[in-house]
């Protein structure tokens, strides 16, 4: 009797669950592929001098970089509001604009400075979603423009914009076989300047987490040694040199350590360098080649290249447990891996049918996708928002070394023109203007 009673209760519970969530649920699993439409009204200019840059032109160029946005030309606008009260949302809705940016450039109490006040508005819901005031010198008007692009990008896409970031790279001019130059450039190619010149090789630049220093390998003493250079001052210091190879520096997320490669133990292994005590500690000790370490964003693991299985493959080591796990099983050459900021994916150089490509690899599922279709791809570096990759490759027609890029979804590709024809080893900076 009790048995049937319990069965009936169980039955009722099951059947009633269908009524608990009885409100209709409609799922939207996809959307429009159209780019997001943005309109930036030329800002009201309240200074006596003429503008050195037009902010709306900087923002338009930035936002359209990766085919994610379509920015309206000022000629196509129906009105030019600079205050929220002046906005007629119907006009913008007619133009199918999703987001509107209005603002003014105002005089500052401080000599040589400007204040830029702007707002980002959601046209469909007629709401102000971001109001900001940027202060800066007149000379950095361009930077303020990139700052605005970053904020717009972040508000709309939910991930940081990278328009204020920089790329460090090594340049070896075609014209001079014995000239090596460590340089940095803004994302748009401006501000390209030399950080360090030498007549001996320079390689493997790596940014510190706060963006203030760059570590790199220099052969200026006749053999490889790791140096750290402070960007603001140009001051350099060298890591304690060991016999053999000293190379492949990778900064820890907390900035206290560098992982690098030493071959003093008769074969290249991964070591940790304590920046305070200047001491080297071995991490791997296999008789094969262990090289190209990269720290995980959470600081708990490192991925590196090792040929311990016979050919270069990617391995991951947990720093506290020292457990090493092989990660790549496809292909006979997988090297120079880098974590994406989410810590769940890596990119690396992958050889397929004799051609070197950049591959994206999910650490959990092991699924790989090839991101590039260029020739002799190497040294991939990820943007700090995880959305774009830059790498070094060869322009077959001109036989020059160039830097190329691709968005992580594989949809947009671009090339950074290199003046000298010898650009290699790109390293993407972290987000430089934190807020």
């Amino acid at each position: 009797m009790m048995q049937s009673f319990y069965k009936i209760i169980y039955l009722l519970l099951i059947l009633s669950s269908t009524y608990l969530s009885s409100q209709l649920r409609i799922e939207i699993t996809g959307g429009s592929d159209e780019p997001i439409r943005v309109a930036m009204v030329p800002f009201e200019w309240k200074l006596n001098s003429a503008p050195s840059h037009y902010l709306h032109e900087i923002v338009k160029k930035d936002l359209e970089s990766f085919a994610e946005f379509a920015v309206l030309n000022p000629e196509d606008m129906l009105s030019y509001p600079s205050l929220e009260e002046e906005i007629s949302y119907r006009d913008w809705r007619l133009l199918k604009v999703d987001y509107l940016i209005i603002g003014s450039v105002l005089k500052s109490e401080i000599e040589g400075e400007v204040n830029i006040a702007y707002s980002i508005l959601d046209v469909s819901r007629r709401k102000n979603i971001h109001k900001a005031l940027i202060k800066g010198s007149v000379k950095s008007l361009k930077r303020m423009g990139h700052n605005i692009s970053d904020r717009i990008y972040h508000k709309i896409n939910g991930i940081p914009g990278i328009f204020s970031t920089r790329i460090a790279y090594v340049d070896k001019p075609l014209s001079d076989a014995d000239s090596y130059d460590l340089r940095i450039t803004d994302i748009d190619g401006d501000g390209d300047l030399s950080l360090f010149k030498s007549n001996q090789p320079i390689l493997s630049p790596d940014w510190s987490p706060n963006g203030k220093e760059i570590a790199y390998v220099s052969f200026e003493e006749g053999t490889s040694r790791i140096y750290i250079q402070e960007l603001a001052t140009g001051n350099r210091r060298a890591l304690k040199r060991e016999r053999g190879i000293n190379s492949s520096p990778s900064w820890s997320p907390n900035g206290n350590y560098l992982s690098a490669v030493l071959s003093k133990g008769d074969n290249p292994d991964i070591y940790l360098y304590n920046l305070r005590s200047n001491a080297w500690t071995p991490l791997t000790g296999h008789y094969g080649i262990d090289t190209e370490p990269d720290w995980s964003p959470d600081g708990k693991s490192l991925i590196f290249t090792s040929n311990r299985s016979g050919s270069p493959q990617i391995y991951e080591i947990n720093i506290s447990s020292m457990r090493i796990k092989r990660k790549t099983f496809e292909g006979t050459y997988n090297a120079r891996a880098r974590y994406l900021p989410d810590g769940k994916n890596i990119i690396y150089v992958h050889r397929r049918k004799g051609v070197f490509h950049i591959a994206l690899h999910n650490l959990r599922t092991g699924k790989i996708s090839i991101l590039t279709d260029t020739f002799l791809d190497e040294s991939p570096s990820v943007a700090p928002n995880g959305n774009v990759i830059i790498y070094a490759t060869k322009d077959r027609e001109t036989d020059t070394d160039i830097l190329a890029g691709v968005t992580i979804n594989g949809k947009t590709r671009f090339i950074l023109p290199s003046v000298s024809g010898g650009a290699r080893e790109p390293a993407w900076s972290p987000i430089l203007d934190k807020y």
């Binding site: 049937s4 069965k7 939910g158």
Partner: protein
């Protein structure tokens, strides 16, 4: 003997209940179909020509129908009609008396599906999802009036990302009023006056 029967019966009910509730939880469409054609496809309907009540004639016709693109609603209406007639055929064969009941239930399910997909299409067409790298999902509660106009929208469960939530709210704001939602009053009141819209791009 009696216990065995009772046991069997309860067990069967439990299993049906499980299937129904599980399909609800995982949003599995038990009666799903897709009609997305890009060019005319011949379709074959088998149906009985004479009226349902009469038992005299049992002619079975095979009729070829071409389905043109852009007539999704026609397709669905046609299939609704076909279902109706298949039911009629089945009921005749099984000689059950609950035919009219089955017809209204099946009809209703199909209609809910039909209008849900109309709503889904209109939202899909305007939703520009942001690049956020996580697997986000936001749930909104929409309130409509029978004309299809959206009276109110509330966030039932946020995705945790401002940008993602906002993109969903904007999609709803862009639609403003759903087209082609003409349906019987009770169907609207029971299902579409207030419903949950889930944005889940994966």
């Amino acid at each position: 003997m009696q216990n065995l029967f009772a046991g069997f019966f309860v067990s069967m009910l439990i299993h049906i209940g499980l299937v129904l509730s599980l399909s609800n939880i995982f949003n599995i469409d038990l009666l799903a179909f897709q009609a997305d054609y890009s060019q005319p496809i011949p379709a074959y309907l088998v149906y009985e020509k004479p009226k349902l009540v009469s038992k005299k004639e049992n002619k079975i016709f095979i009729k070829k129908i071409s389905i043109e693109p852009n007539s999704q609603i026609d397709i669905k209406e046609m299939v609704l009609k076909a279902d109706e007639e298949i039911l009629a055929l089945e009921s005749k064969a099984s000689k059950t008396t609950t035919f009219s009941q089955k017809k209204t239930n099946l009809n209703q399910q199909n209609q809910i599906l039909l209008f849900s997909s109309i709503i889904e299409e209109q939202i899909r067409a305007v939703w520009k999802k942001p690049i956020v790298s996580e697997k986000f999902s936001v749930e909104l509660i929409l309130s409509l009036v029978p004309t299809g106009e959206i009276l109110d929208v509330k966030v039932k469960r946020s995705s945790g990302s401002d940008a993602f939530d906002r993109s969903a709210l904007i999609a709803v704001a862009k639609v403003r009023k759903f087209e082609n939602l003409k349906m019987p009053a009770h169907l609207f009141d029971d299902n579409f006056r207030n419903f949950t819209l889930v944005f889940k791009p994966y």
